[in-house]
């Protein structure tokens, strides 16, 4: 039987910015898709078989059915389309969905485009209320809770149980923002110190301003296809290393942190997702086999939780591994070379796709990097998606 494992035919994205008020979602999606098609060099765009729209919020656009509208704007009618939403994990879940569409034989090629504008167009009060709708409204949001506080409460318990310190996760805030200097698409590279992070204004303790990631406007696109389709229709495909979408996992957890008690320090859904993806990609020793990764650093401490949940280090040892440089640029697994959500930014529907573009590009350009992982989640790990990409001969 022919191997239908999806391969990467092309990638493209817009720079991520705090406020692209020169553009709306249609414009951003168009920019990213054109960049992807330019990268793929198709013989004829008419050979595309499917579109997939990835975005989280209907509210910030003042427009529902954006799947169909973007599909039309991009000139993809009358091809089939599907819209995917999965909170913060939307982009990664979109890729996972595309994987299923190709593996099932529904199509041989699928253009996955993710986009988001993040509410700079509305008052902060309105934005606050709209963001609040993505938590458990009656129980957590109506009392005044914020996502920063939910994450902060997890880290507070992590500090209490494992001795993790504020300086430990400040290390992540510093490193990822510095990594962003190497990424022309990054929203906010910064050269700051651990002291700068520790003395930035508190948002929800123990998290302070520089522990928090960015809200962004932007779009990202990946064209996935069977290898046969890619060889037949893309001029660039055979000219560079083949990158396959080798594994994908998804796990979930309770909406409210308190319902997970006593497991309130970690993302159980991420553990499930990682194991699923490792099994598919044949990974038995992740620390040894993974060469590059983008982790979901919505808050700096989340990266410490992630390296533990992904099984790279033992629970409680994440902080030590991170602050000793294991996941720096020149470390064992370079993490968030793009700058991550802290430095590159996070337009939700595009975030998981941009993470994938980062590791795919590294694999294409760096012989020593053959296996890349992305880790993306919604809520406080309510939906977790782990995707794995690897070089194939």
């Amino acid at each position: 039987m022919t191997d239908r494992t999806p391969v990467i035919v092309g990638t493209g994205m817009t720079p991520f910015r705090a406020n692209r008020d020169d553009s709306n979602t249609r414009d951003l999606a168009t920019e990213a898709v054109l960049a992807c098609l330019k990268d793929a060099q198709l013989d004829d765009v008419k050979h595309l078989e499917h579109g997939l729209t990835s975005y989280e919020s209907d509210h910030f656009n003042r427009q529902m059915t954006l799947g169909a509208i973007l599909h039309d704007t991009l000139g993809l009618t009358p091809l089939p389309n599907v819209r995917v939403e999965g909170g913060g994990a939307t982009g990664a879940l979109a890729l996972r969905t595309a994987y299923a569409y190709i593996m099932s034989g529904l199509c041989d090629s699928i253009l996955v485009y993710g986009v988001e504008v993040n509410g700079k167009s509305i008052s902060s009060q309105t934005a606050n209320q709209l963001f609040a709708l993505s938590a458990d409204v009656d129980w957590e949001m109506m009392v005044g809770g914020t996502y920063t506080a939910f994450y902060a409460a997890m880290m507070q318990a992590h500090m209490y149980r494992y001795g993790t310190t504020e300086a430990d996760f400040a290390y992540v805030a510093v490193r990822n923002r510095r990594n962003a200097f190497d990424n022309p698409y990054a929203q906010k590279p910064m050269d700051i110190t651990i002291d700068d992070v520790l003395s930035s204004r508190p948002i929800a303790e123990p998290y302070k301003l520089f522990d928090c990631s960015l809200l962004s406007d932007g779009a990202a696109t990946i064209l996935l296809a069977t290898r046969e389709w890619a060889e037949n229709h893309s001029e660039t495909f055979m000219k560079r290393p083949v990158v396959a979408f080798a594994g994908t996992g998804c796990g979930t957890d309770t909406m409210r942190l308190g319902d997970r008690f006593p497991n309130i320090t970690h993302f159980n859904g991420k553990r499930i997702a990682a194991q699923m993806a490792y099994n598919m990609a044949g990974i038995t020793d992740p620390l040894e086999q993974i060469d590059v990764a983008e982790l979901y650093d919505s808050y700096s401490g989340v990266e410490i939780q992630a390296v533990e949940d992904l099984g790279w280090v033992a629970v409680g040892e994440g902080a030590q591994a991170i602050t000793s440089g294991t996941f720096d640029k020149d470390g064992q697994i370079p993490v968030n070379l793009s700058g991550g959500l802290l430095g590159r930014g996070a337009p939700v529907g595009a975030t998981g796709i941009a993470q994938a573009i980062e590791v795919i590009t590294r694999i294409q350009q760096t012989p020593a990097m053959q296996v890349g992982l992305t880790d993306t989640h919604a809520g406080i790990g309510t939906i977790c998606v782990v995707n794995i990409f690897e070089q194939r001969d």
Partner: protein, 169 residues
């Protein structure tokens, strides 16, 4: 003088990447202002008894007769064994298991608009329950292990979850 009354802002957009601008024909941008607001009728559904009993100064959770777990906040369906739960009156004391001191809160209703920051969001294990109840602690200090109790409000509130909060025991 523009004839477009909604015209809010005109700007000239810059090309973000590269030296050649393929969108050179599309760089004049107009940004307009629109209004969109809506109210909701929101049923509290199977969770309603919890909120109704708050007005009586009582705290209710749900109990699963199959696994003996007590849920607070209530869960009408036990997520562990998919049994339909029963209502159970709860002790109004408990222990803080984790927290965050919030310097900003979600200003989502008239109740939160009145709150002063910083204020602690606490996750409390009410005595004899198996989950953590998230709510505000009205106190100058907070720590993991702190004993707290439920305090009830009698003033009118917009959302009934504000009929309660936590204070130090």
């Amino acid at each position: 003088m523009s004839k477009v009354t909604s015209q809010l802002n005109l700007k000239r957009a810059e090309s973000l990447l590269g030296t050649t601008d393929e969108w050179v024909e599309f760089r004049d941008i107009e940004i307009i202002s629109l209004q969109f607001s809506q109210g909701y009728k929101h049923s509290l559904g199977k969770y309603s008894k919890f909120f109704i009993e708050l007005e009586n100064g009582k705290l209710f959770g749900t109990y699963c007769p199959s696994c003996n777990k007590v849920y607070a906040p209530p869960r009408p369906l036990c997520p562990s064994c998919h049994e339909i739960t029963t209502w159970q009156a709860l002790p109004q004391t408990g222990t803080v298991q984790t927290y965050s001191m919030m310097h900003f809160i979600s200003n989502v209703n008239a109740d939160t608009d009145q709150l002063e920051t910083p204020i602690a969001l606490v996750y409390v294990q009410l005595d004899d329950t198996d989950t953590l109840f998230p709510h505000l602690l009205y106190s100058d200090s907070v720590s993991i292990g702190m004993r707290v109790r439920v305090a009830f409000k009698t003033d009118p509130v917009q959302h009934p979850i504000h009929l309660m909060h936590f204070v130090r025991e």
